[in-house]
């Protein structure tokens, strides 16, 4: 298969489970498109999004978890913080208006549009080692988000010390009254989107989740589309 064939296969529903619908949709924000890329199933991705610009993430195939970390592009020791985001917002779910905060409490980005009821930020990322706990040692050969994060972070000189708990766009993790929580069937669908505006220059690192042992990808990893639109001049 040539590189060109491979690119076409990424957006061919026949490459995925029977019945897969792919909807590339489009940006959730007006403005000049600065970047428009497809992230193949199971792959990592990253880009710097400038302050004021908006990143739209499209769940092309539906119920595909986009595991996501954010860093201050000029000082990556400042990075996305699950607990700071939760404590400042007073809510464990991420929705339109949620400010995505750093470990210093500063706004990294604000969710400006969201087409599903709620987004997850407590479920963390999968990985080879954690998969052995969750599903058994027979899963050790499978790729995971932690591996994607490590591979992509390495491109910026970062490593294990720089990987922290993350956002999971399009993943559904309810917390029940007694504290029971877990990843359940998704509430997204083909073409559903979320968009956030960078409040400072941010490095966005995404793992298009390879997990096939729970419903976070509907047991059918599919592509994502990443669109950066310029903010008001």
């Amino acid at each position: 298969m040539t590189a060109s064939d491979s690119r076409q296969a990424v957006l061919d529903p026949a490459s995925y489970a029977p019945g897969t619908v792919l909807d590339r949709s489009g940006p959730l924000a007006d403005g000049t498109v600065r970047l428009d890329e497809i992230v193949p199933a199971r792959a990592p991705w990253s880009a710097v999004v400038g302050q004021g610009d908006v990143l739209t993430i499209v769940d092309v195939g539906g119920n595909q978890s986009a595991d996501c970390l954010l860093y201050n592009a000029h000082d990556t020791a400042e990075r996305y913080s699950v607990p700071d985001t939760i404590a400042w917002s007073g809510n464990v779910y991420v929705r339109t208006g949620t400010v995505l905060r750093s470990n210093e409490g500063n706004p990294l980005a604000t969710v400006v549009a969201n087409e599903i009821d709620r987004q997850d930020t407590i479920g963390g990322a999968c990985g080879k080692e954690s998969n052995t706990l969750r599903y058994g040692h027979h899963t050790m050969s499978e790729h995971g988000c932690r591996e994607n994060f490590l591979a992509e972070a390495a491109r910026y000189g970062m490593g294990a010390r720089d990987i922290v708990s993350n956002l999971n766009w399009f993943m559904n993790v309810p917390v029940e009254a007694d504290g029971t929580l877990g990843i359940v069937d998704g509430i997204s669908g083909p073409g559903k989107r979320v968009a956030f505006r960078a409040e400072m220059d941010i490095l966005v690192v995404v793992s298009n989740c390879p997990q096939v042992n729970n419903p976070c990808n509907d047991f059918n990893p599919t592509p994502l589309r990443m669109i950066v639109t310029a903010g008001p001049a």
């Binding site: 990556t76 020791a77 400042e78 913080s81 699950v82 607990p83 700071d84 939760i86 404590a87 400042w88 007073g90 809510n91 464990v92 779910y93 470990n103 210093e104 409490g105 500063n106 709620r118 407590i122 479920g123 963390g124 990322a125 990985g127 080879k128 080692e129 954690s130 998969n131 052995t132 706990l133 969750r134 058994g136 040692h137 932690r146 490593g159 294990a160 010390r161 720089d162 990987i163 922290v164 708990s165 993350n166 993790v173 917390v175 009254a177 007694d178 504290g179 029971t180 929580l181 877990g182 990843i183």
Partner: protein
């Protein structure tokens, strides 16, 4: 008690030395007790000779220690106003550290209590919560930051009246060669938070004075503790009471222990931990 120069006669080295040495042996409300067996607050039923760490940590302060595998660490909320923010690292490879998301997700439970393994991101157990008579703990909100404390109290500095947890963790971490990159989300003990169906948080506060929680070190650990108000504690004043820490030599969880029967996930986590130690020649 504030130091006053007129109370000291320090004009020569000999006098200064005598003045410094005269200060030894004083007692403060918050201090380490050395040797640990000399603690004024020995944990009931624990043989004093087995104690390895005994300390009272003031509200708005921090402590840190490297502890051996098998160490049992008891945290006590003396007045009901302590809040122990905790970070754990594999002392052998400190980039292996507490992973809060894995801890709650793999445990299928957001609210920490007895029996919950505290996991690293490497599929192993750093420590197990082995006793808890509080039940008011939090794995969702982390600790406070400079930005949060400056907004809420007007100051966040470690030398000021309302230190933030992150700034104290930064100091504690630095004393083990660790930097800000090494500060992942933390957990906290003695102040509870609960999430409603819509995800909104309610601060459920303290279970009262004298409550304790015990952690069992399953690997050699660096432990960092910041004792600061919970980040969503609604009280307008910076309110944080003393935290008492005692640790003693105990037995880690081994394959065959009933803790492995708690869940299939816990079993595999303990087996991974045991496998790591065996490969390193540490078991």
């Amino acid at each position: 008690m504030a130091a006053v120069a007129s109370a000291h006669n320090t004009e020569t080295v000999a006098l200064a030395r005598a003045d410094a040495r005269a200060q030894g042996g004083r007692i403060a409300d918050a201090m380490p007790y050395l040797p640990a067996s000399s603690t004024p607050y020995p944990p009931p039923g624990v043989e004093a000779a087995t104690l390895t760490w005994a300390e009272t940590v003031a509200g708005g302060n921090y402590t840190h220690q490297v502890v051996a595998r098998g160490t049992r660490i008891r945290l006590a909320d003396v007045t009901g106003d302590a809040c122990a923010h905790v970070l754990l690292y594999n002392a052998l490879e400190p980039w292996e550290r507490l992973n809060v998301a894995d801890t709650v997700k793999i445990g299928w439970q957001a609210y920490l209590t007895t029996g919950h393994p505290l996991l690293s991101g490497d599929g192993r157990v750093l420590a197990t919560i082995v006793a808890d008579d509080s039940g008011q703990h939090d794995a969702l909100c982390g600790t406070s930051t400079a930005a949060a404390n400056q907004a809420k109290f007007g100051d966040s500095a470690p030398h000021g009246p309302s230190p933030s947890g992150r700034e104290l963790f930064t100091l504690a971490a630095a004393k083990h060669g660790l930097a800000k990159r090494d500060l992942p989300p933390s957990i906290s003990f003695f102040k509870g938070v609960r999430a409603a169906e819509d995800g909104s948080l309610t601060f459920t506060g303290s279970a009262g004075p004298g409550r304790t929680v015990d952690l069992l070190a399953e690997l050699p650990l660096i432990i960092l503790i910041a004792n600061v108000p919970h980040p969503v504690d609604p009280r307008p004043a910076y309110t944080c009471g003393p935290l008492r820490v005692h640790a003693w030599r105990s037995a880690p969880t081994e394959p065959g222990d009933s803790r492995l029967d708690a869940s299939p996930e816990a079993r595999r986590a303990y087996l991974n931990t045991a496998g790591y130690l065996a490969a390193r020649g540490l078991s």
